[in-house]
């Protein structure tokens, strides 16, 4: 199958290229970059020297539709929607890594991101979290790949909400992210000197990924819920650790809570439950598509703590995108995603 990657010179694009290169069923036929069009991929990303022999091209939907069977869009939000709409019109299957098709409500999209140019497509798009929407993804033409923070938080909270184990009005997600999540565009904010050796919160209770979490977790409970979401920036490249808090509904043992996770995810290839009284580390999933989860009930406060770790570029973006492609195309779900975490 021939693959087109639109917006391939950012970090998620680079990670898509890394993963797809070894996927036995696909070939990267087309990679676009407005900035680096005309340059060889391995000139822009020397790590691919001897591995990828391709030139970045300027985006032309007719050309990519001619040359590729399946398309990943890794453009910034706002820029993605029109391109996706055109690709869909050409009959292509698309996984969109931007935020443009994640929210079902165009008004909500507009509040957080700006005007949506093709709101009709919102209902067609399937939210690409395979652990929840596997069946819908199988039949989808357009998959909206989840945000990095929502992936970690939703996987951590779903078994609790589905099981009615926690009070949905009390949820707090205290997330810590590596810097690659901020992208590869020139900026002062993400300079090494501004980030390294420091530690801070940002967009407290006001981050664009909040409505995405709320939408998906509300589906789990059947009623609109609110999440208090506080993201932090950590001086590492890859990794999101989501420390989630919620009040339990009545007495609950850690063992029983763990069992809910075991039942929900026991057969999932990419969710790993860490042993009792241990907790996950981002380094232990780095470079892989795993989401590791640890659980503990704190009796004294009647709260449960669930911690999930993902690689924001893998399970939080490009790895999950390939997982979605596998499902959409009938390939084995783990195909091309066997990377073992790189430690240390």
């Amino acid at each position: 199958m021939k693959i087109g990657v639109i917006g391939a010179s950012g970090y998620t694009g680079q990670e898509l290229l890394r993963i797809l290169t070894h996927h036995p069923k696909v070939e990267i036929a087309y990679a676009t970059s407005e900035r680096f069009a005309g340059s060889a991929v391995d000139e822009v990303f020397p790590s691919f020297k001897g591995i990828i022999d391709l030139q970045f091209r300027k985006l032309s939907v007719p050309h990519i539709a001619r040359d590729a069977d399946f398309i990943f869009t890794a453009l910034p939000h706002g820029q993605s929607m029109d391109v996706v709409a055109e690709c869909i019109k050409k009959g292509k299957k698309v996984v969109d890594l931007s935020a443009d098709f994640r929210l079902k409500d165009a008004a909500l999209y507009e509040r957080w991101y700006g005007k949506h140019s093709c709101p009709d497509l919102l209902s067609e798009a399937v939210y690409g979290l395979p652990e929840i929407y596997r069946d819908e993804i199988k039949k989808a033409q357009l998959v909206a790949n989840p945000g990095c923070y929502p992936t970690g938080a939703i996987l951590a909270l779903t078994p609790l909400l589905e099981g009615g184990i926690i009070d949905p009005v009390s949820i707090i997600v205290d997330a810590k992210s590596g810097v690659s999540g901020a992208g590869r565009s020139p900026s002062m904010t993400n300079l090494f000197g501004e980030v390294a050796e420091g530690l801070k919160a940002y967009n407290v209770a006001n981050h664009r990924h909040t409505p995405e979490m709320e939408q998906e977790l509300s589906v789990r409970t059947g009623e609109g819920i609110h999440i208090l979401f506080v993201p932090h920036l950590i001086p590492i490249n890859r990794g999101i650790l989501s420390t989630c808090y919620a009040r339990t509904n009545g007495a609950l043992s850690t063992a029983k809570a763990s069992k809910a996770f075991q039942q929900r995810y026991g057969k999932e290839p990419f969710v790993r439950l860490v042993p009792s009284s241990t907790f996950p580390s981002t380094m232990e999933v780095r470079g892989s598509n795993y989401c590791d989860i640890g659980v503990m009930v704190d009796d004294s406060s009647g709260q449960i703590v669930v911690i999930s770790a993902i690689d924001n570029l893998a399970k939080g973006a490009s790895g999950q995108a390939v997982q979605n492609m596998n499902i959409m195309c009938g390939f084995p779900e783990t195909m091309g995603l066997e990377q073992i975490p790189l430690v240390p």
Copy 2:
């Protein structure tokens, strides 16, 4: 005034030496290290070359009592109590940086740390958080210097609890610490390779600093309260960011909450309230004795978020210890503590 530093070759000892060197009222007369006894201080810490001309000595309480007027003990918990007791008996004023005199209840101490050898001294020791116990510290012979995590959390939560603004049963402290807090002893856990580029929680709802926070915050409310405390390890050297969550008692605006902090800390020399809708960063306090605090109320969830940033070795340990010494000795409180944060 002649100073003795007992246990001066760890990170808090080193930081004490750095701060005391420029303090205009004191002279470091005696520094002990069992490990490095006989070596020059600047041989063990080359950063002090040309600055400190002193040899590490083995601890001898009679000698230090003879040579020093004021004593800092920076020994591990358990090892500190007997030494402190002897120094107190010799009539010296002591700031103890270990955990040995922080808890008022010997049984509680025993549960978390082990048997206490001089429980009688517990009631004499003053908990050395100047923003709360300034008057008591003035008259104290023995000050128990607070733990790094409790310093950040207690400063963040005190105005809310004193003002009756939050529900004390709902408090969560999600803290993130740099690695220097783990000390300078050889270990596998804190090797660069185990820590760098990673991110993880540890001692979830089970950290020794929990009872210390609970003790002090219970005093604020007049009733025993429980804190859900989750510490995380972050690959930076210095800094603790404490993200604190609590349910508000009734409607509350961010402005009103900020005012409570302004009233409580407006005259404090080392507490800085960051502007509305901004939040502190550990880098902006690094190397200084400041505690920066930011506040936001999240209406939708009825929760307040308070974030404090300190340098764990300064306000979280040695800076605060010198602040305590200044108060105990009638020096201006900020003397020797004017270091400007080192950025970047």
Copy 3:
């Protein structure tokens, strides 16, 4: 083929497990760790959860000889030699990752490392740098896997020495290494707090890898040569950058020097020559078995600068060990070593 890994709980052991797990021709049958014997591999290294189902065992050569066909020893130098000798006696093929069989001269070994217990084996051992000794490795029973620094330096200098292009008495190797090269044993020296945010040289002109470089580069020139080797410690986990300097023998253009590298390494699967006037970065080889090399002649000084980048745990240790195994066993040389560098 069944594999035994002796000393599998250090960083090179862990990396061997990571690489071997996906090697299509082998199965890890036996992994030893004195420290963690009895624990599951994924308990010690949680990154392997769901990937490796094996227990660490105490070393017993009879058992490993019964259960494994091919053996990697990843023990500290001094501890490895006797174990290797026993395995060799049992008829096993062995790749030894320690320094014990790298030097041909037992007296030289003794000077740098201590007494050698089986000097007879030194002449049998083949120095496992495939780009130089491929034919010998094919027939070897015992391969001494090169040190990390020597791998980077020898690959950078060999084309120049073989081509007679540089003056062998003028060679300087200024190498910069990540911290994982120092191993995983508890130590104060390699604590995060001692290493992070700093930068220093160590063992200047006095590092144990010097005689290894000298031995191998002397073979290239046919006469004993001396290398001035200065290693530096850099706060990253993986990577060695070797900046090598030498005086050219007469006028030389960068193009001509590059051509010597092209001719020497043009067909090598794991040596990549970076484009003219660019230089390699350790991040671009991280997690992979590549050695990237860049070259420039400085006319004004009559010096050539050659810079090589490797991942010290991969091409500098475990990746190269697997490459050697492939050659020894007649597998395709790149089998199991297709990992693409992890960036960022």
Copy 4:
């Protein structure tokens, strides 16, 4: 004395503000930033909250000449020269931190940086390395503050060249720099994701600081010399380690070489010679104005290795600028520069 800082919102400007704030003889009267004009200094740099109460202003030379007695220019090269010329015309003393007045030869300046608009001033400007030009600096109206790399290299090599101990045609400077040296302007190259966890050389034998080193070292020898200068980028914020190599003129012991350094720098307040067989670390000078130097002769190769460590923002820029101001104004040379290195 009233100080004006032109270009105060970059890293060197920020460091000037940090140092000058505690200088007992000066007051910061005027700080310019085109980008942040109108914002409070502590809004742009929250670390200064409660410390600096000043607004950034747009540059107006008449205003700054009216309000300030002494001026620091911390603008990019090319932008600095005209501003400096105007300030000089107004009779102000100036320390210029850009490259604009470091080179004596306008043609050389043009080759590396571009056209010079006021070449007449080049001969008036004094190169601001106090360890060499203290007497000239005393009388100077305009001091060209040295580049960060040249500071480290020139201090390391001067005693050897002055003493005729090394062959000046064989000098190699292999320097490693933290990222803050690249400034605070938005860029992709210096994003955390591009720099962290990596290690690379750049501008090999082609860096703009080369002619500056050559100019100054040629003065030492009395003949034009060439330096092979290879800078590397290291993922730390502050620090330059310069590993310098040269062939010795005849037999030389480490002790004798050290003695040359002792004699040359024994009375220098900011140059520290580390003990024999140890070498400096950037962390041990971080945040301070020290330059630490270690020396070793390698008999086998007839080479000497000199390693210097500085904080690139302090002794490599703003600390040295204040040292120059002290000398120019007759203040004690160390005034305001007593910061002890921040470790860890």
